[in-house]
Symmetry: none
Subunit: 116 residues, 4 copies
DNA sequence: GTGGTCTAGACCACA
DNA sequence: GTGGTCTAGACCACT
């Protein structure tokens, strides 16, 4: 169990500090729900850290659900406190699964979707 | 003569098929942007798979930015193809917040880049 | 599909991630010196990206001298300078987990931290 | 027990702790670039966790590009520090591997964080 | 209620 | 042998 000891003895990670500061800016209202954070390169500049560090900071916030990221769109503040304009009433999804229903190792003859 | 390889697989994994099927439901309009997917336990039932597999499916969709997840709230369809009505801070596209309605509450302030 | 793990993490340039992944394949021995990379269209398919992105990836590798290109012949792996033969014999990591004794199924009573 | 205390605000998930500990072993030189980590089943034993948890740990490291995985071969230490701004005593940083960019060191004007 | 973590296995695909 | 998938649950944290 002592590996845990080693870990919490030194948690001065810059990216964590940075993440916490950003979180503070959010909680303070400086950054509001559904608005975009500054770009990661911008953040890196602002905080005087490398891009990698900035990315780990936003990654941490993402893990904490403080923000969410849409690729090539940006990183956005989660509507943490209340009332997301989200439709929690679930979509009318009456039927769903595969026509077949064993789900084991059967071939699962599902049509290949033209995805990317 | 080995120039293809390994990470690709392209096998019929259940979670992958499931994810693709859900993506189809989204593209077909069955599941609309900013509405919640059925809960993961529900999805597991619908598709006749274990919870873990259902979670892998939503995880894959999350990686593909087809959906995004808010802890304890649900998993929501991303406003996929182009132009999410998101406030892209620095990009000057100031208008439109999150979809459904953005009339009454937060003014959706443009991100104040507290720069220098 | 695991390259997607590396690719997503955040909003970095896809072509860069892709280039790095290809570089890993080279370093790992998957792609060997003086052999051709898959064609750019092939690469674009494999990674699920546009042709332009694939071309930027190989361009980046070309700039780094990891590969070189012969017009209408293909893109080939450079005989890299610091070839790192992967050490498959596992690191001398004799002890790992809990320095204490048993390390079997210690209950791992991890206490949730109060958080902030 | 109270031996676990963190100023850190994130939670104490086992897989996360485990990943961080492995990362520490890497940074400490116990596990070196291009060498294989112990197999996941082995890691699970060493740390006294289930296989799934061990896999989550390596997955996290993979996302952070601390390691990379070759299917049926193993999981290998990346030759690039996850966070170049981290100075853990002496990380023994003569890099020999490939030209990944981790060159630039920012001034590191760390912002004042209210806590800690 | 939701998603997230974790267990303790079994089996598959690749090498 | 390795990592990867999948099961069928239980429990935790948060809303």
């Amino acid at each position: 169990m002592s590996w845990i000891h080693q870990l919490d003895s030194s948690l001065d990670y810059v990216y964590k500090k940075m993440a916490e500061h950003i979180e503070l800016r959010i909680k303070s209202g400086d950054l509001k729900p559904y608005t975009a954070l500054p770009a990661e390169r911008r953040l890196a500049e602002e905080y005087g850290v490398s891009l990698g560090t900035a990315r780990r900071a936003t990654e941490l916030l993402r893990e904490r659900q403080v923000v969410f990221t849409l690729r090539s769109k940006g990183t956005f503040v989660t509507n943490s406190p209340a009332d997301p304009n989200l439709n929690l009433g679930e979509t009318d999804s009456r039927q769903g699964g595969f026509p077949t229903d064993q789900a084991q190792h059967a071939p699962l003859a599902v049509v290949p979707t033209p995805d990317a």
